[in-house]
Structure formats: C-alpha cells, structure tokens
Assembly symmetry: C2
Amino acid sequence: MSQTVRIALDAMGGDHGPAVVVAGAELALARRPDSKFLFFGQTEQVAPLLAKHPALQAVSRLVHADIAVRMEDKPSQALRSGRRRSSMWLAIDAVKKKEADMVVSAGNTGALMAMSKFELKMLPGIERPAIAALWPTLRGESIVLDVGASIGADAEHLVDLAVMGAATARILLGLKRPTVGLLNIGVEEVKGLEEVREAGRILRERPMPDLDYVGFVEGDDIGTGKVDVVVTEGFAGNIALKTAEGTARQIGGYLRAAMRSSLGSRIGYLFARSAFDKLRERLDPRRANGGVFLGLNGIVIKSHGGTDAEGFAAAIELGYDVVRDELLAKITAALGRGVGGEPQQALIGAAS
Amino acid sequence: MSQTVRIALDAMGGDHGPAVVVAGAELALARRPDSKFLFFGQTEQVAPLLAKHPALQAVSRLVHADIAVRMEDKPSQALRSGRRRSSMWLAIDAVKKKEADMVVSAGNTGALMAMSKFELKMLPGIERPAIAALWPTLRGESIVLDVGASIGADAEHLVDLAVMGAATARILLGLKRPTVGLLNIGVEEVKGLEEVREAGRILRERPMPDLDYVGFVEGDDIGTGKVDVVVTEGFAGNIALKTAEGTARQIGGYLRAAMRSSLGSRIGYLFARSAFDKLRERLDPRRANGGVFLGLNGIVIKSHGGTDAEGFAAAIELGYDVVRDELLAKITAALGRGVGGEPQQALIGAAS
C-alpha cells in the first residue's frame, strides 16, 4: 500500500451524480487529508465541478468515461454495454491495476457487484460476494451481513459470511474475538430455516479461533447489540436494514409532531434543544452510509444511491479506514484459519 | 354468531402463564363488556386467580387441562403429547365445536399453528396459514403478512396472502379497496426473488376487484404506510417485524438518555411531558400485540409470549373485533371472487 490512500470514485453513480460525488470527496478530504482521488466520469460534467474545489483538484485526477451505468440496468445489461468504458467499470479496473486502493460507487448495486466480481474475482474459497453494513446499536456498532448482495445462502455460505463478518468486526470495531449470531425467527434450536440450523451446527462444532459463535438471534436483537456480527442471507438482511431505517424515520416523524403539539412541548423543545440535536445526529442515516463488499479480491464500497455529500463522504471514509487497516489481508488469513477445508488451507501461506 | 363474543383462552400459554391471561381478560372485559370467556388450564393455578376477579368470573367458565404445551416443544412433539388434553388443544377445540367464536393463546407459535391446522382445517384453496400483524405507520395502520407462520412461499401462496391480507384490511382498517405491495429488495422489476416477481405478474394480470396491487415495496416503505397491505413470506416478515420493534426500543433508549443528558433537557422534558406521554403510548409495542392467523376455518389470535396483561388484553380485543366484523366469511368470499380457478369458485356459494 502506498503512503496515501488512493481512492477511485465512480463520479456518475447515484441519483444525484457528479455533484454529490465531488462534494462528498471534498468533505472526506478535509477529514482524511492523506487521500488521493481518481474520478471516472464524463469530463464535461465532472471537470467544472472539480475546478470549484481547488484543494480537492490538487490531489485528484479525472479520467473520462463515455458511459454511465443506469440505476435501472440489469447487471447483465450493464456488463454488456458498460464493460471497459463505463465510469463504474473503469473505477473498479483502477483497483485491479493497483492504481487505486479501493473504489466507491453510489451506482446500481447489481451492476457494481457483477462488474466487481468479473474484474476483481473472488477470494479463494468464496463463491459469492456479500455486503456488510455498520449498524448503530445501544452498545455501539455491529456488523450485519449480507444486506443485499445475493439472495439465499446455503449453510457453508452462511459460515463464510460469519468468518468474513468477524474479520470485518475485528478491524472496524477493534475487537479481538467478536461474538457472532445467526439471524433466525426464534431462538429455539428447533426453529428456522434448515440451512440456518445447519450453519449453526457447523459454527458450534468447527474450531473458530477468530470468532465466538453464540447462537441464533432475532430481529429485535440487532438494535440492542446482542452480538458484534449478525449473519443472514441478502434478502432478509436487506429487508431488516431498510425496515430499521424506515422505523427510525417514522419515529423521527412522531417525535417532531409531538414537539409541535402544544405550547408546553414547544417550550420544552427549546430547553432541550441541544439534546435533540445530539439525538438527531445519532439517528442520521448518513452516518452509517456505505456497505463494504466482502469476499472480493479488492475493496469496493457501495454508497446509498440517494445520499447527499455528507453521506457519500461517510462511505469514502469507511473505505479509507478499511484500507488503512488492511481488511483484505486479514479476511484472507481468517478464511485460511477459520473455515478449513481444501481451498482455504492454501491461503494460510498466501496470507501470512 | 351469538349475541356476546365467546372467547376461548389458553390460560397456560406465554412466558408468564395464567397470571397475565386472567389479568388481560379482566382488562379486555372492561372495554368489551359483551364478552364471555372459556379458560383452559390447570384448575389449581387458574381458579384462585379468577376468584380474585369476580366480574370476570361471572362471565367465565374454567375447563381443566392436564398438560401445558411448553415454549420449547417442537410442533410435532406438542401434537403428540398435547393432543386432546393440553390447554392449547382444548381451547382450539372449543372453536371447532362452536362453543367459542375465537381463541387467543400466548403459547408456542409453531404448536398453535400445527394444532389449529389439524383441528380447524384450512379454508378451501388455501394450503398454509399465515400470521397477519397490524403495523402502526405514519399514515395510520397497515396489515403485514406473513410475519412468521411458515417459511418460504411460492407465487400462488403470495397471491393468496395478498387476497387474505386485503380482506383483513377491509375489515380491520375499514377500507373499500386496499392497496397491496409485495415486499422485495429493490423496486425495479428486474430485482428480487423469482417467486416475488412471478406473484407480481399474477397480481397485475388477474382481475382483483377487492384489492389494488401497486407493485414492489421495500422495508423502509412499511413504516411510511405506502400501502395498506404488505405481503411477504414468513421468514422475512418475522425479521422485519422484530427488527422494527427492536429499532423502536433502541430509539426510545436514545430518547430517554437524551432527555436526562443536561439540566436544560430535564427542564424541557417537564414542559413537554404530555407530548412525551403521547409519544410513549404511540410507541408502546403492547398496543399492536396480537397476530391474526389467516387461512384457517376458525379465528385464532397469537399474542406475544412475553407480553403483560395490557398486551394480552390488546390481543383479545383484536380477536373480538375480527369476530364482530365477520372476517372469516369475508375472506372466504374474497378468495372466491379474487383468486379464481376451480377450487375457489365453489366458495362463492358457500360464503354468500
């Protein structure tokens, strides 16, 4: 890794395109000054924006890309039309060519996943990528994965998710041996999906020096921070993540209405203003923006498509921290130690 | 239906057993005075509790049951040991024998489902039961189903859920033609599970006079009340429900901490006290306690196992309202009209 962290950005991704990407990079640079940026996008759109931010422009290079992957493109369609010439592809390619340490895109998730898999390939022994989210809890933060990279998972894929999630928690949360739970619909061993039960059996029986498997957890255990890592397949994980975001917004709405409901509550609001400001910051979904794609031979960060500059900056900073802490090498080593079996054994040499 | 609503209660179900069931019935009776109760449970435990509530005792009958289904029993085990003699079985049996209009249990969900299916049988054309939850939203309330009756669903089962959910919304929410959405992980038609996409195609193409299918919805659309009925299979639905409950508790914790954080916030709290009380009531998960089992030839209400008397009363009152509004006859009629096909056609005569 170079001295600075070199960040490739898909300038055309997301609902708001280059305006949010450039402004987000400016904010991230202020907080992570040893960053360099590679922007990929349409020159006529991106160059004027960069020109307005001289400090950012000084540490950035802009590479022209003809094509922008659209949010509604199917992954196969995006691969056909965007290969080798879309901003998303070229940004990923910079990581492959070691010109960047990581890539951030707010674009089409399916296309980003397909292109990343195609270009960067998977880590040995891992068949499918996963998206890990940092989830704010009453105890601090937990890692929840997969929150939408792929639908369905057999027992071995769930075990891989546990190992990758624990490696991520060790780095991002600074834990030695993170606790891991399998998301299920009932804590009794008799309940839930067959593959979740089988994954639980494997996690109990196989030696796992890098994680502490504690059993099944339910949806309401995520927010309390009962475990450091919550493992589930991508359909249920995405629904859990979005339901929690929606519930937080809903309660924020109730709270605003309650504070406006009477003269007393309006006076009370004025007295408690700074407490409300802190609470608002705590509930700000932009703070937790950015999912880490795990299982790939390279670091790819997915930002929410609809985020603003502050949210996009949070995604960049998440990627920065992952690079600084050498997440990838640590996951590879953990897969070698934790999962066992033929393909993983070969990794011990490769990673250490 | 008789003049009064006759309610069978599994007095032994739930984490707290008869104490909560009897106290809950007392509260429900105060608010629904034209109720009668049939308690099933161990006489030596239930009789002394009833004796303390003379008004309740006057409209109640206690039937002794030797066995209590345990929370950790597998459904098959509960059926083997509890058939014909557990409090849960006997309470369901009272509905079958038309001695009660509905049954409420806070016991083991899987056992309640298995016994209900075995005793009451399914409505014609429906293969599997579903649990529908009343979900508080920014617009009012929505029906979400299935929240945990069974895992996985093919396209036709999802369509059945849509029809049953819409019938429930017409009754419990008083809507003429409820809007219905399929829970998915992305609103684009290209995304999500194959069976969800196929169900979407059927709901768009088949004539559905009693519901208005609007397309896919995501987890964060539930709390905004984007649609009146949210349809999903039981694994994802249960995780969504519990994640929302957990998030509400988590934010309640943040809010309490924020209000205690400074002198100003404590003064503010005093001024805004009544607004906070209203908010607390709004977030009280006990208010939404009770899931309706749909698809059965009889009305079965599942209460949360860990609830208190106030929550158990809410479950009883939900069942009372369902009985009063003749939900079952209306679902049967809607299945005949809405779903079409051979087996359902026969229902039109039966229901009208």
